[in-house]
Subunit: 363 residues, 2 copies
Amino acid sequence: MAGGTTTIYDLARATGLSPSTVSRALRGIGDISPGTVARVRESAARLRYRPNVVARSLALRASDSFALMLPDIANPFFPALVKAVQLRARHHGKTVLLCNTEGVPAAEAEYLEMLASRQIQGVVVMGLAITADEIRRRVGSGMKIVALDRAAAGASAASVQADHRAGGWMATDHLLRLGHRAIAHISGPAQLSVTTERWEGYRDRMRQSRIDPGPPARGDFTESSGHQAAQELIHSGRHFTAIFCANDLMALGAISALRSAGLGVPAQISVLGFDDIELGRYAVPALTTIRQPLEDLARVAVDLLVGLLRGEEAPAPKRLAVELVVRESTAAPPRAVAGQAATLASSGIAPRGGEDVRSREDF
Amino acid sequence: MAGGTTTIYDLARATGLSPSTVSRALRGIGDISPGTVARVRESAARLRYRPNVVARSLALRASDSFALMLPDIANPFFPALVKAVQLRARHHGKTVLLCNTEGVPAAEAEYLEMLASRQIQGVVVMGLAITADEIRRRVGSGMKIVALDRAAAGASAASVQADHRAGGWMATDHLLRLGHRAIAHISGPAQLSVTTERWEGYRDRMRQSRIDPGPPARGDFTESSGHQAAQELIHSGRHFTAIFCANDLMALGAISALRSAGLGVPAQISVLGFDDIELGRYAVPALTTIRQPLEDLARVAVDLLVGLLRGEEAPAPKRLAVELVVRESTAAPPRAVAGQAATLASSGIAPRGGEDVRSREDF
DNA sequence: TTGTATGCGTTATCAC
DNA sequence: GTGATAACGCATACAA
């Protein structure tokens, strides 16, 4: 045990066996007698043997970890997902390397080089700027890719996504059923597929009720962008009694802006988010939202990746159902001033009426 | 270039040099002629050579990454810190492995084994259950440890912390200056040093004004625990006009509970947090809080660790200053009902008066 | 300034 | 069932 660390050579010496037998006994593969296995295990425990993962990776030309690339861990949706992914990864005996790209393509490319350097052959990507095909072009076809909550840009990648379009549809439907007609939408970054899909769901449901959806206000999924978008909406003079925000964080920002402008939520304006982050539950008012199945997404993504790593074929893209969670930020539109509830002029005390209305899914 | 990857042997063949010369040229160490360096670099670029970090780690018996262990990445304070740490790590050419312990000692131990297996010899720990000495006992003295925002439990570890005690003091001082006398405290997990220190700052400042601080309500730094603690405070019938919460997340939870109970913030009850998480800025009301110098903490911690890894001695524990950030969740206590503002009986409309008061630091 | 030989700890391919 | 032996790709002591 040179230098304090025990190796299989030490175990070989201790047991009177050969290194290769020790190696096999430790991993329980090949034909080894139960007795030897026991002996090896015993002295491994006694000598506090710890396998050297680095040496193993070198010999195997493969690592036991994979990467998780995401644009911004500061968005509360992602930490929860990271947790879920790590949990599932451990279930497979894998560790995950977190790569924060900040949405900048250069960082993405740099990370990919890094992964290749480390013999890492699998990556779960979320909201990336570059496509799976570009990834392959950069680091070779050995890299297994699973797109999480994002259209598989490039035919060959496996992917799981929540059904964002259905989510947009359900959100809008909920507001329409409450009686809203003037529903604004604050969307996310234009290039992201989730942005488009949530918007399409909204648009389709609006059109179904013969209402012109109008152009979305543009945000970037941060709280401050939601705040700002809502402010612009207010000052534009555009009429609306509800806002469907493309994620919870922007919804929180929007609520903040509305209240600062003297507009009650949900008394005057209803606000609906997307994701169902923990924070939304404790916000005041508690956020009505579309829940993404976080654990399921993580589980499916990791399992998919592990499958690819084992050499399995990429299955067809998977879609997971979302769910409407009705809380307190949505209510019926105000009765009296229902023509201009959202203009700055009407920022006094709201007429009661919306507060206690709770909606149910009943279709 | 066997199997698609280029090695230094390939470069040696391409340049007519030996592998060791190539190795040195690539790293720019030893005495090598400028000409050979250029030649090596050129063919490295042409053959798309990528150093195999795994092989290097094996040869060096050391990894180029370090670990960041923290209890719960779902707490918004941590993602921001993770970002800052990763940023600084890249500045040193290091990558960081994120270890989420969920506060369970078994997970901590398991992660430590994992680190040792990977030849990782440095770790930045936050809010861990086990001490630095226990870490050393487990994985040997080779592990370099930097405690971040936590007392260096065990003499030998380096550490950086914000000045939590001063923070507790400043928070309480701010409330006292606004005119509050009955100030409750919702604290964190008892075994954490930051919990104790923040509480001590609160206690000292209270005593300085000859007010009995009373026992703190106990939370665990989650929003829901803040919510619950505030509820219990309300139902206890105990009198208070302000709450100093040991972190922002609990403050947000407390505000939620207060409002649900019909208590206005800050009109009836002032609430003050700790950390200055992004969310607090956009909450309604915007959270008054004690700001921790996130980037500085991360920078100092990483630099400290890199120093230790280079064989430098652990310097004395470092303390970084915190800062009071006054926003909207604190105001003067209500005038009229100043005797029982916090009981459920008085949950009607609050007397005005607190709303527009803005405090300044003026000492 | 450059080359040779060896080791890092493991796995895999053979042979016994 | 078990044991030699040769990779894996890089770094380094030593020799030239």
